[in-house]
Symmetry: C2
Subunit: 153 residues, 2 copies
DNA sequence: TATAGAATTGACGTAAACGTAAAGGGCGCC
DNA sequence: GGCGCCCTTTACGTTTACGTCAATTCTATA
């Protein structure tokens, strides 16, 4: 739990408003807390999905970054691409009603839901086909072992 | 329906047993018949999944190749990798009982079935999570438009 | 015989989401 | 004052199943 508690490090001479008492986390803590790798966090930043502050070169994640990360992970969980997630998050405007953002999200969600349902159907098909084949194979194996048993008896 | 009907082409001077009257197909016909691209067929060959005869340099697919292709496509449909498919097909021994092959297939199938069921569960989760979010978003949008309605009325 | 339509090989490109070095800076601590 | 740990950037590698040229050759047909 090494937050930036006491004085800023020597590098923090530029007056970044650090909002004393904010719970800033460094990349390692973030990674553990959310079950992702460092690489992932840097990757998300690279793709413009996160924008942590810096203390010198060290990334400092605010609770805003944490909220964004949660959103990203939720998006990924339901199958959105990072592109989609970014596109939706980029529309966020703290001064507006965000109606457009919500509409876009809903729109994308409907499509994604359709995709998911289609996927589900495909998987169901695959499961059926596969268990059918398995039954057949079991049959074949059975017909190959039972004759021996009949001979043995 | 352009089979190799009449005489062999000039290139077929080497005595490949063409099994007169066999329904040999060239790559284009195969592709259409099974809904794959030429590239795919060459790719499968490259990976050792298919082994069509040659008339000169032209690939000629026998019904054996067709059967193999069907198996490949079935495998792909149920989510096996080409590697897996190859591994299973490679065990085929026309002189033996193929018990080993069947066992391997069954084994892989069980694992694949488990994977599919896990995937299904994941998708179900995603669907639930997503529709939950969608409901919430719809709520937010509704709360934003109804006030106007109440003003209008 | 000219030309269009197949076929060939070879090789680089694509997508997504990171993994995995490599090489180094900075900090706290005993 | 050296160790270990955390952090940094850069950049190539991975996976899978093909797509997409490019340059050429072969074949059938008019």
């Amino acid at each position: 739990m090494k937050l930036i508690s006491a004085g800023e490090t020597a590098a923090n001479t530029n007056n970044i408003p650090v909002e004393a008492g904010e719970d800033l986390a460094r990349i390692g803590e973030m990674a553990k807390k959310y079950g992702v790798t460092l690489r992932t966090l840097r990757f998300y930043e690279d793709k413009g999905l996160l924008n942590p502050q810096r203390d010198g070169s060290t990334r400092l994640y605010t609770r805003r970054d944490k909220a964004r990360l949660k959103l990203i992970l939720l998006g990924r969980k339901v199958g959105f691409s990072l592109r989609d997630v970014k596109q939706m998050m980029d529309l966020y405007d703290p001064t507006g009603s965000n109606t457009k953002q919500l509409r876009l999200a809903l729109d994308k969600s409907e499509k994604q839901l359709a995709r998911l349902q289609k996927q589900r159907a495909l998987i169901d098909d695959a499961i059926n086909e596969l268990s059918g084949s398995m039954t057949a194979v079991r049959q074949m194996l059975a017909e190959r072992t039972t004759p021996q048993a009949s001979v043995a008896s």
